[in-house]
């Protein structure tokens, strides 16, 4: 199909606003990151010089970077399955329930809407070692209290729990949308066909028909978990002893506390590659699904 010149002009005019915005806020910062990553620029400097792969070589030898990367992956490995499972289970329960559906939906979705920074402050109070409600409850139940955010062995997992609490409502809403797209007739048919229990119906219908939603939820959850920053910044500042140092926090600290912009840009590129990799996985799985459907 060939387009006339006027159609071409109209097309260009129509994509212009979006293109300008994308150039300004996406491609421009991204390309400056790519440039900075190969320089020795420090925030506030008047000059910079290219240093080739020096920043990346330094990263390879930087224990903080590796700690930060592994912390991010551990955080992700806890939050992604946790928030997906909790999201799926609560979506299934709300979907099966008859009353108060919108109440539960709203209640579970609230943390997604709330400002995480403000919520982090509330969590800080709840987790306070001496007068926090969490330790008070633990003591009342006969368990030993913990210094949740100052104990290097558990701080990252505490942050992961907060991450799950914050994000499962979003997954739940996505799963609920997916569930509502499954025809009710299928469940009736499964009942007539003799599925012995709810688990068999879930395996026969719900799980396979939710697959596209599950892939989408998985990818967004992974990317969102890579982006953890607010809680770290508000609650632990990466401590104790880098136990909760995560990629985004390291980038922030390197770039805006130590002013090592070149270094921060190099970490950012690693971060971007991770996110792009996950997105590509989704793209591939979508293509596969599309071909078989």
């Amino acid at each position: 199909m060939s387009l006339s010149a006027s159609q071409n002009r109209a097309g260009l005019a129509l994509i212009a606003p979006a293109s300008v915005l994308a150039l300004l806020f996406l491609f421009a910062p991204l390309s400056s990151i790519f440039v900075l990553a190969f320089t020795d620029y420090q925030l506030g400097d008047r000059s910079l010089s290219f240093v080739g792969f020096e920043n990346f070589e330094a990263l390879a030898d930087d224990p903080t970077f590796w700690k930060s990367l592994s912390n991010t992956l551990i955080y992700s490995a806890v939050v992604v399955p946790g928030s997906m499972l909790l999201g799926l289970v609560s979506a299934l329960l709300i979907d099966a329930g008859t009353s108060l559906r919108s109440f539960y939906r709203t209640a579970f979705f609230l943390p997604v809407m709330a400002s995480l920074l403000a919520m982090a402050v509330v969590w800080e109070f709840m987790l306070h070692p001496s007068f926090g409600i969490v330790n008070a409850t633990m003591k009342a139940l006969g368990f030993a209290p913990h210094n949740w955010l100052k104990d290097g062995g558990i701080a990252l997992y505490v942050l992961a729990v907060i991450g799950i609490w914050q994000s499962f409502g979003f997954n739940m809403v996505l799963f609920m949308a997916g569930l509502s797209a499954i025809p009710r007739d299928l469940y009736d048919a499964a009942e007539m066909d003799g599925t012995p229990n709810a688990w068999a119906r879930f395996k026969l219908i719900t799980w396979p028909l939710l697959a596209p939603v599950t892939v989408f939820v998985a990818v967004t959850s992974v990317i969102r978990s890579f982006q953890v920053f607010d809680t770290v910044h508000a609650l632990t500042q990466g401590g104790p002893n880098k136990a909760t140092e995560v990629l985004l926090y390291t980038i922030y600290a390197e770039g805006f506390e130590f002013f090592r912009s070149g270094h921060a840009a190099a970490i950012t590129i690693v971060f971007i590659l991770l996110v792009v990799g996950v997105s590509l996985l989704r793209f591939v799985s979508l293509k596969k699904n599309g071909a078989s459907a």
Binding site: L186, D188, M192, D193
Partner: protein, 372 residues
Amino acid sequence: MAGVNIRSVAKTFGETHVLKSVDLDIRDGEFISLVGPSGCGKSTLLRIIAGLEQQSDGNILLDGTAVDRMRPRDRDLAMVFQSYALYPHLTVAENIAVPLVMRRLNTTERSLVGGLFPSGRGKRKEIAVEVERVCEALSISMLKDRKPAALSGGQRQRVALARAMVRKPSAFLMDEPLSNLDAKMRVQARGEIAALHRQLGSTFIYVTHDQAEAMTMSDRIAVMMGGEILQVDTPDRIYQMPQDLRVAEFIGSPKINVLQAVISENGTLSLASPVSIGNRVHAAFRPEAARLAGGLEAPLGGTIHHIENLGADLFVQVMTAGGDLVIVRCDPAGIRPAIGDKAGIHVDETRLHVFGADNGRIAGAFRLEGGR
């Protein structure tokens, strides 16, 4: 094989009475249609028989045993849904196998590692053989590896039938299985389902809003309206001896002619005008029970309003002086009236139905007079 007995089954959703104490005895091996306009409760009744819905009152008996507390799985019935309800991610063969897989394989044998167990493998082989047999019976073997999305409406409908048949259930429940097909496919499928019933000899309970489907396939028809069964009878008797005005109006195409009349002691009907006094009744006759006649001696008459030529039949719509539209069937080979002509209508009084103000049939012989 099973007879189905429905004993004063009622269903209410909040304040709405969807079914008002329905009684129906379905004989073993019978093809019975539940027919009625949408919202009459026929689908609800079918779902109650299936066990997908719990009745508010009354009992369902299968083969003489009450099954009210039984899950659908344990009732040994199969259902064909209007949407076909095929599992979209499974192939045709897998779809058809589901009822057998779910009943014969245990949880471990159904799981991903089920193939590791010799018992599971053996059963899977048996199931594959039975699926193949059903596919051949319905000539869909060549579709076995396709997904439902790659099938036409007619093919999907056959797959849904195959899935219902594969288990050899004691009765088939069908919820408007043909309504998603185009008109031509529907006529063909009607014949196929009727043939399938003769061949299997099982009980078929068939829900439809299409009176033509009910008339052409059933041993008996139950006409439902407003949550009640108005009449249960053979197609012939439903058509020729409707016991209720609403049955007469629902069955038959074009619709039966209904005129307001006043009845006298000796059975003479006079067509009523708004001011007539006396015992008001409905006089009804089918288009083929009337013929056009010369103007004067006929009790009814009017102006020819429209002519529908269906090829085999000519349906002439006559606007009477009273403002009623009366449809008369004419032989296309006979004299063709013209629109605007004056015509009389002669009604075969042996085929005249009279219904009281309560819609119930009034038995007896009647004479129709113009009376205006």
